[in-house]
């Protein structure tokens, strides 16, 4: 995999490439995984993202960033897109885009919110909603590399039906040694789940995260308010701010 050097020269200019849809997988009622074929894809690191650009017949363009959902398979990349009501790009990708239709893609971009398989520190992943996508890329990259670094994922969702990658997470929590997955439900919890629906708080981070003295790397991704809350909790618990990496997503899509 031709990964860019950390924060260094990438050598090649960032250009828009034409991508085509090859597969579409529903994940939840509002999220889909889209598999794109991007000829000449250079490879990427877990946590990186791509910019996707649509051009209307009158020349109007709209571009959005989407996290890569897993390691590349040759020229194929996967994005998991959550439908944003009234969004410009996500409804097109989910409802209109047909197999073979072109869109423009550039990337990979990003060298900060990434996890490299050479890292040895324990990892805490905290996801809110579709913020799980780049974190799942890290979980998949860990497995693909045979890494034994201990991973913990805390995943906050509204209801059990909103869990993206539900089956795979269940399987990986069972089969991938050293991966723990904990869920927090904000609106409705499944039968048998201990506790009442609530927003993720200090007790959840304390129970399911790593203590700061283990010097874990923390990755937090989700809606803006969620990310700020969790990052503040982690720093408050004693994690150095530079070890708490965040990625937020706003309302546009």
């Amino acid at each position: 995999m031709a990964a860019p050097t950390p924060g260094g020269r990438t050598g090649t200019p960032l250009t828009w490439r034409v991508a085509r849809l090859v597969e579409r997988r529903p994940e939840t009622p509002t999220a889909q995984t889209l598999v794109l074929e991007v000829p000449g894809w250079p490879g990427h690191v877990a946590g990186q993202h791509v910019d996707v650009r649509l051009t209307a017949p009158d020349g109007y363009q709209a571009a959005r960033s989407y996290s890569l959902a897993g390691p590349a398979e040759g020229d194929r990349i996967a994005l998991t897109v959550q439908r944003v009501p009234d969004g410009e790009v996500s409804p097109y990708l989910i409802d209109v885009w047909a197999a073979g239709d072109p869109v423009e893609v550039r990337g990979p971009v990003g060298g900060w919110f990434v996890w490299r398989t050479t890292e040895a520190a324990p990892v805490l992943l905290v996801a809110g909603g579709s913020g799980v996508v780049p974190l799942m890329a890290m979980i998949r990259a860990r497995r693909a590399a045979g890494s034994r670094v201990p991973f913990r994922l805390i995943y906050s969702v509204r209801t059990p039906a909103d869990v993206i990658y539900a089956d795979e997470l269940r399987r990986r929590a069972r089969d991938d040694q050293g991966l723990d997955v904990a869920y927090v439900y904000t609106r409705a919890a499944p039968d048998g789940w201990r506790g009442e629906p609530h927003r993720l708080g200090l007790a959840d981070v304390n129970t399911h995260g790593w203590p700061p003295d283990l010097e874990p790397l923390c990755y937090v991704c989700g809606p803006t308010g969620f990310v700020e809350t969790v990052a503040d909790l982690l720093v408050g618990l004693g994690h150095p701010a530079r070890r708490v990496k965040t990625e937020r997503f706003g309302p546009t899509g």
């Binding site: 924060g7 971009v109 937020r248």
Partner: protein
């Protein structure tokens, strides 16, 4: 400005890669206003303006403005006193050129 109206600093990676030979996503910058040093990825980005405006989360001052037109780009960094960019180790030439 409503509280949730900003985007993530990580989204600047693509637009800045159009201008620079290095990946600025892991660069850190110092805010001229509050003096804090933080990652570019940590900026709050407002995209409603005709362009991208990056503000420091703590003091909300503007550190970066980027406006892209079809045939040019304007980059205004007056709110930043420096950018520190991780680079691969410099390799000195083994002998005089």
């Amino acid at each position: 400005m409503t509280e949730m109206s900003y985007l993530d600093g990580n989204m600047l990676d693509g637009p800045l890669r159009e201008l620079f030979a290095v990946d600025l996503s892991s660069a850190t910058g110092r805010c001229e206003s509050c003096g804090m040093v933080g990652p570019m990825a940590g900026l709050h980005v407002f995209s409603h303006a005709p362009g991208l405006v990056g503000r420091r989360p703590a003091c909300t001052e503007v550190m970066l403005r980027l406006v892209r037109a079809p045939d040019r780009a304007w980059l205004d960094l007056r709110g930043s006193t420096f950018l520190q960019v991780p680079m691969p180790p410099d390799q000195p030439h083994p002998r005089p050129l």
